[in-house]
């Protein structure tokens, strides 16, 4: 897989990174708890302990890598797709979400186990830190290219907050998906489709700008 490319600054053993991640997920899911120590984990895996530290400083760090890997994998795949460059901004974001949901589906048990204790979406759990910044980076670059295409309205002050708003939206999607019981998580697809469409209608030039414009006018004339 092409994933190794993205994390190349740390890596000189790409294959064993994947092995580390899947071994850790496997352990967590079959035992329901973390290995007692990095030492024991490496021993069972038959590798030296420092090979682990070359990649992550702790299990917390490893979990971060796993989550970030989900996003990086999807983004790499999207950029490798010839059609993707021609998509509108909305379709780019949709394609990203559908790709991510497909990726997460493969690791659903892990995701459920990790997010089990999360109830408030406003607090970012430690393992999602890298995931969050990867996500915001993707959204920011996509929205910026959207602005130059004219899909997205430039609104001083407000548009700096867009990545943050999208992060809240991402939280909504994850929680929705976590609770979704429909076959093939079809309802989550609908939720993504409808909410992203609405979001981009608000981001585009139109209703909101006219409302602000009109509000400003009323404010000015009322004085």
């Amino acid at each position: 897989m092409k994933t190794a490319k993205k994390t190349s600054k740390k890596s000189n053993a790409g294959a064993s990174q994947d092995a580390l991640r899947s071994a850790y997920m496997d352990y967590l899911l079959t035992h329901g708890a973390r290995p007692v120590s990095v030492y024991k984990f490496c021993q069972d895996l038959g590798i030296a302990e420092d090979a682990f530290y070359a990649y992550a400083g702790s299990f917390d760090g490893l979990e971060q890598h796993i989550w970030t890997g989900f996003i990086d994998h999807v983004v790499d795949r999207l950029h490798g797709d010839v059609e993707f460059a021609g998509f509108t901004t909305r379709d780019k974001v949709l394609a990203f979400y559908y790709g991510l949901l497909e990726e997460l589906k493969r690791h659903r048990s892990f995701v459920l186990l990790q997010t089990d204790h999360v109830s408030k979406p406003s607090v970012v759990p430690y393992y999602l830190k890298g995931f969050k910044s990867s996500f915001e980076r993707f959204i920011e670059s996509t929205l910026n290219s959207g602005k130059s295409r004219g899909d997205i309205a430039t609104r001083p002050f407000i548009d700096k907050r867009y990545p943050k708003l999208f992060w809240l939206h991402m939280g909504f999607i994850l929680v929705f998906w976590r609770n979704d019981n429909s076959a093939d998580f079809e309802q989550t697809d609908v939720a993504v489709e409808k909410s992203v469409t609405l979001a981009f209608e608000l981001l585009g030039k139109g209703a909101v700008d006219s409302a602000i414009d009109f509000g400003k006018f009323l404010y000015q004339t009322a004085r």
Partner: protein, 431 residues
């Protein structure tokens, strides 16, 4: 109920009524969701009340003439609420079209491939809207295909929409819930069948093969290898939808030819196949450049049970109008009258149904009928108008008629209307 200013007239106006209702309902849901975020114990009661109010307001503005006729044709008051329900549920799908990424995802879930890996070309935006989905155009080696893709989650949505409208419909038409239930079930089962593309594929292949021999008809070929429970692929039929063709005047000969093709198609299905394409809507027919009648969309098919068939078509027998003993027996079986009716009610309903049957079976009587006949349709509509104002009908809490008749009546109603628009002269019987 507050007085209405006026009844929405045009189709567009009526549709936009539903859109505003839709928007209001959307807002209700958002309100509910945000309340629930703040307080997880919020119940859905307020939501349902809000929705009920908005649906009621929009529905009650719609008591238009077309639906009154539909009501009359149903020979009871069940088709009216069902028509409302159906319209309402369908109006939910005036939603924005599916995004291309979701189309790709649907393909990947069904076939593990992207559309462009299966076809040489594939249109990224929808060419047409279909009931509960949208149609894309694709090609392989220059041959065109129509690929219908269903909106995900439609099935669940239908069930909850129908459940929501039911109490309102009951209240509006003052019906008895238990008797009315079976009619709702009929509508629900037909609409849920429409969401099952695997069933539609099977029926489309079967019905089109068995009706193929009729003159002036054209059916697309269906492709099971490119179809799944959410995707249905068939030949692209060149031409214009009937609704569009009808906007400009067409010649008498042309109208007769197309009308006859349509009549024969329905006649053959009713009496030979005993399964009917129950959605004669101008959008479901395509007029090809060489003036053939292309038939698409076998989503809504009513299979006619044998015992119901025997009862129903006895109504077309002229003796029913004079032979009183036979009449009573048949009317009771079809539940036009009930044993517990008072003699006054009984006389009233017998007289009303006799008049109805006389009007409705008139096209069959002489073996030939001119559907251009304005006076016939005026009589038909006029009688419908009168019926819906009759106190006896409004006050009867009983369902008059049986559930199997709902879609058969609707089919005849659609057929008569299209033939009238075509101004077609039809040979209705060949015996």
């Amino acid at each position: 109920m507050k007085e209405q200013d006026r009844i929405p007239v045009t189709k567009v106006e009526r549709a936009s009524r539903f859109l505003t209702a839709g928007a209001k309902i959307g807002a209700n849901y958002l309100k509910h969701y945000s309340k629930k975020l703040i307080n997880p114990d919020t119940t859905t009661d307020t939501l349902h009340q809000d929705n009920a109010k908005d649906i009621y307001n929009s529905l009650s503005e719609l008591k238009g003439g077309a639906l009154k006729v539909a009501q009359m044709l149903s020979m009871d008051k069940n088709l009216l609420p069902t028509a409302y329900q159906q319209k309402f549920v369908m109006a939910q799908y005036s939603a924005p079209p599916l995004s291309y990424p979701l189309v790709v995802r649907t393909f990947q879930k069904a076939f593990g491939k992207k559309p462009e890996q299966m076809f040489d070309t594939f249109s990224t935006s929808a060419a047409n809207a279909a009931s509960m989905g949208q149609v894309h155009q694709a090609t392989i080696d220059g041959k065109k295909f129509a690929v219908k893709i269903q909106y995900p989650g439609v099935g669940d949505s239908i069930k909850s929409d129908l459940a929501m409208v039911k109490p309102i419909a009951l209240a509006m038409f003052r019906l008895n819930p238990t008797e009315y239930d079976e009619f709702i079930q009929e509508v629900e089962s037909r609409m849920l069948e429409e969401t099952d593309y695997e069933l539609e594929l099977k029926r489309s292949i079967d019905l089109s093969q068995r009706t193929r021999h009729l003159k002036n008809l054209l059916f697309p070929t269906y492709y099971p290898e490119y179809s799944s429970h959410r995707i249905l692929t068939m030949d692209w039929i060149e031409g214009r939808p009937l609704g569009e063709v009808l906007k400009s005047p067409i010649s008498q000969a042309e109208g007769n030819r197309l009308g006859q093709a349509m009549w024969d198609f329905y006649h053959f299905q009713m009496h030979t196949l005993k399964a009917v394409h129950a959605d004669p809507h101008p959008g479901n027919f395509i007029i090809t450049p060489d003036s053939q009648l292309g038939i698409i969309d076998f989503g809504c098919v009513k299979e006619i049970p044998a015992d119901f068939y025997d009862l129903y078509f006895q109504l077309m027998d002229r003796r029913i109008l004079t032979d009183t003993k036979h009449q009573l027996e048949l009317f009771e079986k079809l539940r036009f009258i009930y044993p517990e009716d008072t003699p006054k009610q009984r006389d009233f309903f017998i007289a009303t149904f006799i008049k109805l049957i006389e009007i409705l079976s008139r096209p069959f009587r002489d073996g030939e009928f001119d559907f251009a006949d304005k006076s016939y349709f005026e009589e038909l509509y006029g009688f419908g108008e009168k019926l819906s104002d009759m106190k006896e009908i409004r006050d009867s809490k009983k369902a008059r008629g049986v559930r199997d008749a709902v879609y058969i009546n609707r089919t005849y109603f659609g057929l008569y209307t299209i033939l009238h628009d075509l101004k077609a002269k039809i040979v209705t019987r060949r015996d």
